[in-house]
Subunit: 449 residues, 2 copies
């Protein structure tokens, strides 16, 4: 019977996945979780759909509540408790009970840091004005939703045209709000190459989203009541009743850094494949920690639910005495904007160039389902391969309903080390309601032969 006391900092995906796994493996062990927010285990990725009105209540986004963890799994979850210091020598953490405004020390034998990530907040004038939001915790999503319900904003400006930006554009349009996106880059969705991203741009414009690229946020102006009035860029003034800032996220690694735990050059807590940090008996998992990139073989920071869950499982298995290595990431991501589905994996052309890889690309546009089938719509597939080995390095898909998840066959092919020829040779599924005889992914591969 393992009597080692485990403390987990952070009660969302990574932390609670680990805690739950450990509870299953070690029913008698003491597990304490400190979560500074109001909620545990929630689907943060679902927030835009909740704000957009597709999901009735924030309750639906909560996978498991603190009281359920306590009663059903005997995990001592304490919300509104913020860990403010890690003492690696005395093996204890300093905890602030936010409601009681009181600090105390809690000891541990094993410590799991799962502090997540926070949105990057530009230090622009009036950034704190009511009506300006970033999305991070569930509470932040609830705040946006409440603001819309109470203030019925007519015009929104979204700063940043990445995943959060386009998902929030869909959400705000669904709430009958006029949407303008500004981005300092020359394209939306910079994790895709510009040739692919341009199709997203065209579709968003078609759907009445105003977009200003290569435009920089300078500051905000306020109304008499203090709420946001406009966004001032380096080129113009955009009236705004609500502003969403989605310009990136940074790992919450300060607590670990202050304790002398090694931080990677990407700013996230350095962990090995077992999710162990540089400090004995201290583990890290989820958005606060690094991941191993399967293609570049570098440590990267990728804050996604899939990674957090796998990190959590890895840490949980290892903390409870098992042995699991985190399998690594390749930067797979998917999203949608209205009917358009967008996915990517591996290296983009841009990334391959930056890594000085000798590469080749193919980008094709065809239709899915079969050309003669009703509602056949354009789908573009881009592949990046190593010029010498012909192995696939990355893929990008921009299509419509039912096409985005086709990135998974490219993910699998890359993981297997397949060449373009091997991708083309696959016995993929075909029927007219899905595609033409040659799957779009294979048409792209064929272009590279």
């Amino acid at each position: 019977m393992n009597k080692r006391k485990l403390v987990v900092i952070g009660g969302d995906a990574a932390g609670m996945t680990a805690a739950s796994k450990i509870r299953r493996e070690q029913p008698e062990r003491e597990i304490v979780v400190f979560e500074r927010g109001n909620h545990t285990s929630y689907a943060a990725c679902g927030m835009p759909y909740y704000i957009g009105g597709l999901i009735d209540s924030e309750e639906n986004l909560i996978v498991r509540k603190p009281e359920v963890f306590r009663k059903k799994q005997h995990i001592d979850v304490r919300i509104r408790h913020e860990v403010t210091e890690i003492d690696t020598v005395k093996k204890r953490v300093k905890v602030r009970n936010i409601d009681k405004n009181m600090d105390f020390w809690e000891t541990w034998d094993d410590l799991l840091i799962a502090t997540g990530a926070s949105p990057v907040v530009p230090q622009s004038e009036n950034i704190d004005a009511p009506g300006i939001f970033s999305l991070s915790t569930l509470q932040s999503g609830i705040n946006v939703n409440n603001f819309i319900n109470e203030n019925k904003p007519a015009k929104a400006v979204i700063v940043g045209g990445g995943y959060i930006g386009i998902e929030m554009a869909e959400a705000l349009l669904a709430r009958s709000i006029e949407v303008t996106i500004i981005d300092m880059a020359p394209q939306l969705m910079t994790s895709l190459d510009k040739d692919m991203s341009d199709q997203i741009l065209a579709y968003l414009k078609e759907q009445q989203v105003k977009i200003f690229l290569e435009e920089t946020l300078e500051k905000f102006t306020k109304n008499a009541d203090g709420s946001v009035n406009s966004v001032i860029t380096n080129k113009q003034t955009l009236p705004a009743d609500i502003v969403i800032v989605g310009v990136g996220i940074k790992p919450n690694a300060g607590l670990a850094a202050n304790a002398g735990i090694k931080i990677g050059k990407n700013g996230a807590i350095h962990i090995n494949k077992r999710c162990e940090t540089s400090a004995l008996n201290i583990w890290a998992a989820g958005d606060c920690a690094e991941s191993f990139h399967l293609i570049t073989h570098e440590q990267v920071h990728i804050a996604l639910g899939t990674v957090a869950s796998k990190h959590g499982l890895t840490a949980g298995i290892n903390i409870s005495g098992g042995n699991m290595e985190f399998p690594g990431v390749m930067g797979t991501a998917i999203t949608k904007f209205k009917e358009m589905e967008i996915s990517r994996t591996g290296l983009s052309e841009k990334e391959a160039k930056n890594l000085n890889i000798d590469f080749e690309t193919a980008m094709i546009t065809t239709v899915s389902p079969a050309s003669y089938y009703p509602d056949a719509k354009e789908i573009s597939v881009k592949l990046v391969i190593n010029k010498q080995s012909r192995r696939i390095l990355g893929g990008q898909i921009v299509g419509f309903e039912g096409t985005g998840k086709r990135i998974d066959s490219i993910v699998t092919a890359i993981t297997a080390g397949f060449t373009a020829q091997q991708l083309m040779d696959l016995d993929l599924a075909y029927a007219p309601p899905f595609s033409n005889v040659w799957d779009p992914v294979q048409i792209a591969a064929r272009r590279l032969l």
Copy 2:
């Protein structure tokens, strides 16, 4: 300049893919194609959707017409010309000009047999009654469509609950016809295991399709005008204004067999990976020929558009002096019935059992998209793995919109020789509109760890 004369028997997917490829590689070569039917290069798989009214005109199913092959590609396509004999010694074929009711001999240096497959037609009494159809050529689809337009049938009986059966059930329902399916097997869709197939059965019943399993066709009765009146099974009499018989297909290998060309034990023309038959300078491709199965390493007969296209490409490259090996099949197939999507690849549990493989299976039911997302619907995934090596042998998916093509990641994983663990470790794409954090395919894999 290659002056060898090529004769192709059969002007559909395999034959015309090969002929087109050869034309591109060898612009000066003489290419003659004999097609006994009225059409070339058509999308046979699209016929149920045409009959169901989703596709306006049969013209939309035709990829390329004979006159286009003649004018644009200088391929001498002759429709309504049936090859009735292959003379391997004098290197010639005997051809019947159907309209002129006249026979002639045509010589060749290379011969490609692409004669396709035909539906199995039970030798039941009155099988030739008007109103009883099988689907094979485009003309057969046009005939069904015309019959429905002219006779407005109220009740249909479909004999056979396989791919054609359920696709035609959807089509006939869309034409406001009451549909009854009979099948002698204890389940629909025998290429899937019963546990998966039972979900298809339940959905079809929910959609008002009457289904009678373990019931055998005995004969048909006719109306006074000779048209079909009812289907008599071993258990009952089912009134029928139209009958679709879809109980399997057989390769059109008689022409080759009569010429002494080797036929496989599955009844299809034996070919090697280069699509060469046992006779010198004679090739075969498409539904009339065998394929190499990547998992069982046996020669199998799989009549699908994907195989025909790849056979055609392989034969075309090799006939024009190149070198390509057919990459093999693993029995991947996909279809849909209304909103339900059904796909499979590799070995089913049943097949693994028959092959005396020591296997293990997992079948899970979850939802897609994410559980809190609107319209989250059940999806079931079944995996079959080798018990010792843990390698994946097969997969089956029964779900709703956007789930069927997820079989492709299983196809790719099997091709790569992945274990269940490797499948679970993949960095697959996740966002709430598509699935929960763990993709259904990975949840199934996890069950096997």
